[in-house]
């Protein structure tokens, strides 16, 4: 899962942290959590779509 975590961190950092401040504020933390859930939704969807295609 290492690569998933690395990519997710990069993508969600780019989406949620437009101006990095001195700490992660509340709205940034919420955004990261949502982004993470959506990234895994997408990952599962991609995985299912690709699997059913190559069978």
């Amino acid at each position: 899962a290492q690569e998933l975590l690395t990519k997710m961190s990069e993508k969600c950092f780019k989406k949620c942290i437009s101006k990095p401040g001195t700490s992660l504020d509340n709205s940034e933390q919420k955004c990261i959590a949502m982004c993470m859930d959506r990234y895994m939704d997408a990952w599962n969807l991609v995985s299912r779509t690709y699997s059913s295609r190559i069978q």
Binding site: K7, K15, M34, A42, L45, V46, Y50, R53
Partner: protein
């Protein structure tokens, strides 16, 4: 089989990055059906494009000889 599994996972990561960038603008509280359709179509069409390119490339090699 181990190698195939690794290749499969590498593909998923590649597709996911590409289709995430294409389909997800602002991540919301739930994945909406429009995003879901976009991601499914994105993966399907990307596979179509790869196959189209691979087949056409094979034809070119047969007709015109080697590239370099």
């Amino acid at each position: 089989a181990e190698k195939q599994k690794a290749q499969f996972h590498a593909q998923i990561h590649e597709f996911n990055e590409l289709c995430w960038d294409k389909c997800v603008d602002k991540p919301g509280a739930k994945i909406d059906s429009r995003t879901e359709t976009c991601i499914t179509n994105c993966v399907e069409r990307f596979i179509d494009v790869s196959l189209l390119i691979t087949n056409r490339f094979a034809q070119m090699l047969q007709k015109g000889g080697e590239m370099h």
